[in-house]
Symmetry: C2
C-alpha cells in the first residue's frame, strides 16, 4: 500500500496536469469514465457483494446496508451522473473582474482550480464517482478516503475511473483513493496541508467535528441543519401547512428538513390543529412544544431547551410560540445551525426583516427549506452544503470548487 507521502507527490503532479486540460479534454474523460463504469459493472457488483456480505456478518443495520448496496440501476445512475457533470458549462478561466490602475497596470481576476481536494466520506460508494467528477470538472485533482465498510466497492469504482482517466490521456492520478482504513491514516490525512489545498469532510457530525478539531488543512464544514420555519401572524394557512408538511416529512434524514417550528401567538390556534390534521394523514410526527403549543395540542410533549437546538433527522418537530417577527429572528439566530430557515408570511416588511436579519446560508419566504440543494438551485450538482461562512455558503456546486488568481500586466512598473 502507498504511503500518504507517495500519494501526495502524485497528487501534486496530477494537479498541474489537470490544470492544463482543456474543457473538451475533461468532458471527454468524464464521458469515457461513464462508459467505463458500465463496462466494469460486474467487477464493481462483485466487490460490492463482498462488502455487503461483510456488513451483514458484522450486524450492519438495514438502513446502512441499503446505503452501501449497488445494483445495475445504481451503477447506471452513477454513469448518468458522470455524463451530466461532463456536460455542465466549464467554470475555469472566467474573467471575474478586470480593471486598470492609474499607473497603467492592468489587473484581471480569473477563476482557477483549487488544486488538490481531499474528501473524507462515509458509507455510500456512489460518492466515489460523484465527488471525483465534480472536483475534476472544476480542474482539481482529488484524493478520496471512503468508509471502511465500502472499501472493496470504492476500490473497484476508483480502479474503473482511473482506467478511463488514463485512456483519456488525463492521467490516472487525478483520482486517488486511500485504501488504509485505520484511524491513524485518517488523522494523518487531515494534516497533509503541504499538498492538499482544501479538505471536505462529508458525513456524520462526529466526522466533521474530528476534522474541525484536527485538520491543519483549510476545511469546508458541511451538513448539520437545524432548519426553522416561522409561521408569521399573516401567514396563508394553506401554504403554511403545505410547506411545513413537505419540509418535515418528505425526507426526514436530510440536512434541509425542517426540525423546528416558530409560530406567531396570534395564529397558533388556527394553524396548529390544521397542521396536526394534515400530518396525521401523512405520517405520525411527535411535536415537542412550549406551554402555548401544548395548550392547543394536548398530545404535544414538553420541549426542553435542548430540543430547540436539535437536528432530529426523525419524525419529531419542536415548536415554540413568539410574539413578533423580532422574537422569531432572535430565537432562530440563537438555536440555528445557520443552514436554511423560512418565513411564511403575507407581510412584505416582515419578510424583508426576516431575510435581512436571519444569519443563515439560505433564507426562504413562502417556500420549503427542502430546496437547499445544488440541483434545486440549478447548479447541476453539489459536493455538499456549507454551513460555514468562509469561501462558500449553502449548496456548493462547480464554481465553489474553484478559487481565483490575479493576473497583472505591466510594462515595467515599479514602486
Amino acid at each position: 500500500m502507498q504511503t500518504l507521502e507517495e500519494m501526495g507527490k502524485k497528487a501534486v503532479a496530477a494537479k498541474y496536469r489537470v490544470q492544463k486540460l482543456t474543457a473538451q479534454e475533461k468532458q471527454k474523460a468524464l464521458l469515457l469514465a461513464a462508459d467505463g463504469l458500465l463496462e466494469d459493472r460486474e467487477r464493481i457488483l462483485l466487490a460490492n457483494a463482498q462488502d455487503m456480505e461483510a456488513g451483514r456478518q458484522s450486524g450492519m443495520r438495514d438502513g446502512l446496508l441499503d446505503r452501501l448496496r449497488l445494483d445495475q440501476e445504481r451503477i447506471g445512475a452513477m454513469a448518468e451522473g458522470l455524463r451530466q457533470i461532463a456536460k455542465l458549462p466549464d467554470v475555469l478561466d472566467r474573467m471575474l473582474e478586470s480593471w486598470e490602475r492609474p499607473n497603467g497596470l492592468k489587473l484581471k481576476k480569473v477563476s482557477v482550480p483549487l488544486g488538490v481536494i481531499g474528501i473524507i466520506y462515509e458509507s455510500r460508494p456512489n460518492v466515489t464517482s460523484d465527488a471525483f467528477a465534480l472536483c475534476f470538472k472544476a480542474g482539481n485533482a482529488v484524493v478520496l478516503k471512503g468508509g471502511s465498510d465500502a472499501l472493496r466497492s470504492n476500490m473497484a469504482v476508483a480502479a474503473s475511473l482511473r482506467r478511463s482517466l488514463k485512456a483519456a490521456g488525463a492521467g490516472e492520478d487525478a483520482l486517488q483513493l486511500i485504501e488504509a482504513t485505520d484511524r491513524e491514516t485518517t488523522a494523518a490525512f487531515m494534516r497533509c496541508s503541504d499538498w492538499i489545498d482544501v479538505l471536505i469532510p462529508r458525513g456524520s457530525a462526529g466526522l466533521i467535528r474530528a476534522a474541525v478539531e484536527n485538520s491543519t488543512i483549510p476545511i469546508i464544514e458541511t451538513g448539520t441543519g437545524n432548519c426553522h420555519i416561522f409561521i408569521d401572524e399573516t401567514a396563508d394557512l394553506a401554504k403554511a401547512v403545505d410547506i411545513v408538511v413537505n419540509a418535515k416529512t418528505q425526507r426526514i434524514g436530510v440536512c434541509n428538513a425542517c426540525e423546528s417550528l416558530v409560530i406567531h401567538k396570534n395564529i397558533a390556534e388556527r394553524f396548529l390543529p390544521k397542521l396536526k390534521e394534515r400530518l396525521d394523514q401523512v405520517h405520525a410526527v411527535e411535536i415537542r412544544g412550549d406551554e402555548n403549543v401544548r395548550g392547543i395540542l394536548p398530545e404535544a410533549l414538553c420541549a426542553s431547551p435542548e430540543d430547540y437546538g436539535k437536528e432530529y433527522l426523525d419524525y419529531i418537530l419542536s415548536a415554540v410560540t413568539v410574539g413578533s417577527v423580532e422574537e422569531a429572528i432572535a430565537h432562530i439566530n440563537r438555536y440555528s445551525t445557520h443552514h436554511s430557515e423560512a418565513i411564511v408570511t403575507e407581510n412584505k416588511e416582515n419578510a424583508a426583516k426576516f431575510t435581512h436579519e436571519v444569519d443563515s446560508a439560505c433564507v426562504y419566504v413562502n417556500a420549503s427549506t427542502r430546496f437547499t440543494d445544488g440541483f434545486e438551485f440549478g447548479f447541476g450538482g453539489e459536493i455538499g452544503i456549507s454551513t460555514q461562512k468562509l469561501h462558500a455558503r449553502g449548496p456548493m456546486g462547480l464554481r465553489e470548487l474553484t478559487t481565483y488568481k490575479y493576473v497583472i500586466e505591466g510594462n515595467g512598473q515599479i514602486r
Copy 2:
C-alpha cells in the same frame, strides 16, 4: 478581567447590532472614532510611553521599538486611516447574482458580513485601529488580541474607539480587546468557534503556524512570501534590472519583496552583470546562486536547495538558471509560497503560459511583485494578504471581509 465566554456573548450581541447599522451610521461612527483618537492622543501617548519604557528595560531591539512607538504624527495617520476607510463605498447588500427557477422560485445571492472576526497580531499598535475599521466597515464585530508588548497602547486605543462607538450609537462591543497576555488565553481564543466566524492571524510565521495547528475556527493564512521573478530569454534588460532592484531593495521586510531570481540561461550573461552593477549602487545584496550564476558572478555564494525555499526578508537573493519557461514554472511551483511571482519577457506566449500555469495568488508580467497590496490594487485598504486558496487569495480588502447568503422568494413551493 472578562472571561472569553463573557466576551463571546457580547460579541454575538454586537454582531447582530452592527449588521443592522446603515452605511451612513457606520461611516458616522468611523469619522467620530477618528476625531476621538485625536482628542485622546495624550492618554494614548502616555500609555505608549509606558510600553516603550518596559520594552527598553527588557532589551527590545531598536527595530521592534520603532514598530511599537506612537507619536503625534502616527496617531494622526491612524485617524486619517479611519477617515479613509469611512469614505470607502459600502460593500454590503450587494446583489451578487439573481435568477429564477422553472418552479417560480426567485433566488438572490446577497453580500452580508462574516459576523464576528477574531484577529491576533503582534507589536504594532496602529493595527488596533486599522483592523477594527476595516472589519467594522464591512459590518462585522471584531475581537482583537494584540501583542503583550503593546498592551497598554492597545488598551488606550481600544478604549478611545469604544467611547466613539458608544457615542455614535453603534454599541461599544463592536470592538473588544483581549487584555490577558498569557499563552493559555491565546490558545483558548483560537478554539472559540462557537462565536467567532473567522480568525485572521497577522504576524510571524510562528504565530500563523500555531493558528493552523490549533485553531478550530476557520482561519485565513496571511503573509509568507517567497516571491520569484523569472527573467525570460526575451526580457527587456532595462525593465528586468529596474523590476528586480525595486522588488528586492525598495523594502526588504515585506512579504511581497522578491526573494528568488529565476533566469533563462541564454540571457544570464548579459543580465546578471547589469543587475549586479545597479544593485551595488543601491545597496549591497548577497546573491546565492547555482553553478551558472557563480560562473558569471564570481562573488556569488553557493545556493543550497533550502535557499530556494526561503523568505529572507533581508538583502539576500537566491538565483537559479533554467533552460525554458516550463522549467521556470516548475521551479517556482515547487519552491514558492504561492504569494506573488513575476515574469519579465517580451514573448506573449511565454507570458500567457506563465500566468496560466504558475500557481500563485498574484502573477505579474513585466511589473514588480511589490504591487501585491490592497492600496496598490485599489481596494482602499487591506487586512492582509492571503496565501491560502479558500475564500480569498492575495490582498484582502473590504469585500473579502464579507460572505453571502441566498434569499429565496416563493409563493408556496414545495418539493
